[in-house]
Symmetry: C2
């Protein structure tokens, strides 16, 4: 079975060290760097920043739990406050996954759009970008090099979807910056707020996650409020809807996966205890470098650069 | 149902025109450009360049057909020749989908790895890149502008995974170029050749497709031989494998979807008749521009740039 498989990066939570084959040198891979990181390079995630979604069990009776990490202030504060209110009100219980569009998004919420919202939950008058604390004199001459000494975390990467700006990591999140403003971006597994036509900004009751190619044209047009850190396969492997925009039609109503509950981690006795690799850490710097420069027993032509969405921030359960 | 959904691009095959709401201006969208294109801007796909894969029906008895367009010479000629031989030998019939790794790939072939290959089907000594016919004096000053007059199709876009080079479209395919060589790239739905450790290059019997974030570090490390143009959802929505690298374990053997047959379009009486929007056409130029600059009733903050993998080449059935 091993001969013809093609090797790959471990998934998000994988921390198993790379084992060298007999007589082969030890290669440095993203996985080996994460495995070699020290405990003090990891940052615990506050249980109040976790949303735990219980979907109905699958056809074989297996539970389906999705864990979402909420983005910190200042990026989506009005929406995340709404989301905490909705979770505490148990508002999502009994709602469903209503839309699955291939290479685009899975979306969930109240299919009737008539369920009353808890008091105070309204679409905010808010901007999708916030003012940068500082500007960074990024020079295009620096090209694809990863370098330190910049106020947006320790990395500044070029990016084709940010004109006159660049991208980097801060407090564990991929961010874009241009013209003195900062904003979160739509990578695979990132969660945003559905809305109607502008100027509607959405309340946070209707949520989606990207299940294919990063949809960077959504950046600064829809609110990013978090990312799936566990159970993404329960949202990405659902049958695609055949209705407009991938919504399930009435004939496909049986495909809408019921949401049993969505709770804040802080409300649960058995909340997952998770941590992320600090994006300011030395191990993360190495991790980004190797992501951009794979050179091991399998990959022989390093790209020399990497899309920010292909640098998944390592997240794991504490103790794993 | 319409109020809270968030609008999106149509899927690959969608050609429905955008209808303006009462009193609203007509907005230009990627979909409206494709709908307004003229018939002579489309290029028919040779049935010998199509692979038609019949998977076993799904649990509800629905057929599952996947259509793959093979890449033209010179990009993967040794592998595509092998693949045509394998299809004509009906070699894949009775094999299966064996690996589904979330945000990575779905892979299919002979799970036993013991099925004899047809005569002449061997891993070629081949390069993953080919010599460029010409160099293009791309200047970084041109930044994110799309411009004409360059030997690699009419577009040259910046790209973070190509150091000292750029990307563009030629004969309907996204390509990268640097240092006088050209190579195809790993976007969502693109199909490549599984292999063992280098210097193995793979035969083409073991194939995979990208089901998440484009995996551009695979470029020039594995052979891209085509792309899924119909039925991608049948490969992207499968249950993820829990074994190493997303392979189904023996306990999950029932999840391996049987492959009933893989045939060349030229072998089939009822082969799909498909066409793609010429990447040299004026409509495609507009399409790329609007992909990079969404500005309509929903998107109010145009990005100004776009990742090449987010510019899906429009493909449709002839007559649709």
């Amino acid at each position: 079975m091993k001969k013809l498989l093609f090797l790959t990066l471990c998934s998000l939570l994988c921390t198993a060290p790379t084992s060298a084959q007999q007589g082969e040198p030890e290669y440095v891979t993203p996985t080996s760097i994460v495995a070699a990181s020290s405990a003090d390079e990891w940052v615990a995630i506050d249980p109040d920043d976790l949303l735990v979604m219980q979907l109905a069990p699958d056809g074989a009776g297996n539970p389906r739990t999705v864990v979402i990490q909420l983005i910190p202030a200042p990026f989506s504060q009005p929406w995340v406050a709404n989301i905490r209110t909705l979770a505490r009100a148990e508002w999502w219980d009994g709602t469903s996954v209503n839309r699955v569009q291939d290479n685009y998004v899975t979306q969930w919420g109240d299919v009737t759009e008539e369920k009353p919202l808890p008091e105070g939950v309204t679409a905010p008058e808010a901007s999708y970008a916030v003012g940068a604390r500082d500007s960074c004199n990024f020079s295009s001459e620096r090209g694809h090099r990863v370098f330190a000494d910049c106020p947006i975390g320790q990395f500044i990467l070029p990016d084709v979807a940010v004109v006159g700006g660049h991208v980097g990591f801060e407090k564990g999140w991929p961010l874009a910056r241009a013209e003195h403003s900062l904003w979160p971006i739509h990578c695979y597994g990132y969660v945003g707020v559905g809305r109607g036509y502008a100027p509607d900004t959405g309340t946070g009751a209707e949520l989606y996650t990207v299940i294919g190619q990063p949809q960077r044209h959504m950046d600064r047009n829809l609110a990013v409020i978090g990312r799936v850190i566990e159970g993404m396969q329960h949202l990405s492997s659902l049958p695609r809807g055949s209705g407009e925009l991938g919504f399930y039609t009435e004939e496909e109503a049986h495909l809408r996966v019921p949401i049993i509950s969505i709770r804040l981690g802080s409300e649960l006795a058995d909340a997952p205890s998770s941590e992320y690799l600090s994006t300011d850490s030395e191990s993360f710097a190495q991790y980004v470098h190797v992501r951009a420069n794979r050179n091991d027993s399998f990959y022989r032509s390093p790209a020399g650069g990497v899309d920010i969405c292909n640098v998944e921030v390592p997240v794991r359960r504490v103790g794993e």
